[in-house]
Symmetry: C2
Subunit: 388 residues, 2 copies
């Protein structure tokens, strides 16, 4: 399979050059401190300039240390995808957590609500149907709490959310208002279809369509007498490509903290902004491939977010220099780098740019922070592997 595009022109994690990566076992997921800080700052600046609250999606890093950096930079808290993840960040003292996933059974958030009560966290939940509101009300009642609930709107991904064209948003918001122990908190959306866009302009058009859809839903709620304190949208591509945030109150980018091959493909990030890399060792040369010790069990088999497509599994940049090699194929513990010229020598290191950073962080227990004038340090991926 031939790549549809050439390799990105970038210098992978220059911090590596100052270290001795050959002394490290691999595969190892590394995060460049300077780029990480720059990425956290960039979306905070976007939010600050637009007068928005920033609530980064922590599914990308699942790390308490990085969530704290985001909050220190100005984020109101985090977004998470699972009750078990939420609990990790609540117990770590993150002040506000949005569980952006439908809860359809009360017992699934029992432990989380215990933790929320203990920490005094602001917890927001979401629902996109009556069953969800009922489950949240039952759980909140059991713990004697009042939960703010956002109504999820389907802005085109076709996954979850009420139809913005119909009466469902007003109906569900009314159900929430009437339910004991619940408070209608506003509306939220995720334009994940942006990952399938061919480039930045198309992403910006999707973001603008999402904004108009959400404002129309908000206006219908207001017309029905329902105040809408939160209008929250999220996805890294749409946040980075959007020009007009008028009327929105909150953004929830996740991947922007690391970035990856998908962000470069979409044209929404610069090559020198990618903060997460997989350091690997060349362990052999096959007939047509250099083989490295990073396979699908560290890079994942993702071609992109939501199944959007890259032609292969990333690009491998020899740490000692030389042209990048296309990651054409993966076995579980082997990356197959297409040999177009002389391959990097056995024992040498490559830094692999993955297609999708989020599943990579989820596959490792530790992220190694490098650069920034400090020695390398491992931080745990605290919220990975949660059953619930």
């Amino acid at each position: 399979m031939a790549p549809r595009r050439g390799p990105p022109a970038l210098d992978p994690a220059p911090a590596l050059a100052a270290l001795d990566p050959a002394a490290w076992p691999t595969p190892r997921v590394i995060v460049d401190r300077a780029r990480l800080a720059g990425n956290i700052r960039r979306v905070q600046d976007i939010a600050d300039r637009a007068g928005l609250r920033l609530r980064p999606h922590a599914k990308t890093h699942k790390s308490v240390a990085i969530a704290r950096q985001q909050v220190s930079a100005g984020a109101v808290g985090v977004t998470v995808a699972k009750p078990g993840e939420a609990q990790v960040f609540v117990e770590a003292g993150i002040p506000s957590v949005l569980l952006a996933y439908p809860v359809v059974e009360p017992f699934r958030i029992d432990a989380l609500l215990e933790a929320v009560r203990g920490q005094g966290t602001e917890l927001l939940c979401m629902a996109d149907r009556t069953e969800g509101a009922i489950a949240l009300a039952a759980a909140a009642a059991r713990h004697g709490m009042e939960l703010p609930v956002l109504v999820k709107v389907d802005v085109g991904l076709g996954r979850l959310g009420v139809d913005p064209a119909g009466p469902a948003a007003v109906d569900l918001a009314g159900t929430i208002v009437r339910a004991p122990h619940l408070r209608f908190g506003g509306i939220m959306s995720h334009a994940g279809q942006a990952y399938a866009a061919p480039g930045r302009d198309e992403v910006a058009a999707i973001a603008e369509e999402e904004r108009r859809t959400m404002l129309a839903v908000r206006d219908r709620l207001l017309a029905a007498g329902l105040p809408v304190p939160v209008v929250s949208v999220g996805s890294t591509p749409t946040v980075l490509a959007q020009r007009d945030f008028g009327g929105l109150t909150e953004v929830r980018p996740g991947n922007s903290v690391f970035l990856d091959g998908t962000a470069l493909r979409l044209g929404i990030a610069a090559a020198a902004e990618v903060a997460l890399w997989v350091l690997a060792t060349v362990v052999g040369h096959g007939p047509r491939h250099a083989i490295v010790d990073a396979g699908s069990k560290v890079l994942s088999s993702d071609l992109g977010a939501h199944g959007s497509g890259a032609p292969g599994y990333g690009w491998a940049f020899p740490v000692l220099g030389g042209p990048p090699l296309f990651v054409e194929r993966l076995s579980e513990e082997h990356g197959w780098l297409r040999m177009d010229g002389a391959p990097p020598p056995v024992g040498s290191r490559v830094a692999v740019l993955p297609n999708h950073a989020c599943p990579v962080a989820n596959l490792t227990d530790l992220l190694t922070l490098v650069g920034g004038g400090e020695p390398p340090m491992d931080i745990p991926v605290d919220a990975r592997g949660r059953v619930r």
Copy 2:
């Protein structure tokens, strides 16, 4: 994207029917005890009948408890893909471990060799080039040990291994014989190209070609005066499809312990043998999909082993009955089940048959054993997440 085949006709984990899976948080990776025991027995019987040693690849389960079951059934030990994995099984007292991965730097196995010395484990290593033999010799010397080394032969996958047609096997075996602290242990191969075969007959032909290739390499080594104590082949498809094991001494199937959609697609397993399932909850209905809480972070995005292809991401069987639904698409925490008829109700459970069981076990920290007349029990995936 339409599935190329209909759903497999099978009753997913009948043990589930005897439980109350609705009381469990999901996604949860479940293993049926009766099918697990049957799968362990099946390959042991194949090995016993053919007079072979069985050395299952533990990359599939990464679990000490399951490795012990395999050894109790008659396996000589396990195969592993990483030094860190090897260390887990060595420290757990598994008597013999084959590290089936090239070691190209001595420090990478320092901790492992410490553990081997402490436990008195038999450790076998492999090499496919001089650099590997040199690295193993240096590590063995540092620990004052003698390591048996198998020469890896490329039998058609094109990944790693010496060319069986050339002089490389004899040359490398000679290097190993002459190296202090190393002993030439024999030859090994992995016909991973079998995963791309259209069906069982073609898999059997690949297995037979692998056998003939390995015997030819063995004969050349013998003619050069080099005894070949081990002729080891491995892969679940080839072991299950092969009819004649003459001349081989060891087989190393991994996936056979669980089986999955790939094994069914290849026609090498019966539907009622699949032991690993992902239990998930229906959390909503989109315009064209029922959405469950099992996405790529538990199912992986694998279409099959070594990138071999399924049309989607598996099949979801409603636990309360009804036709299976095709898993057409994955987000990180969402499985998109194509709705062909009435969807399973929100809150109900489905058991998902994954394409590839090995990355699924690697994505969870716990496997839940069910059935077999015992209460459900979680066992740890001990060897996942090892950095080295």
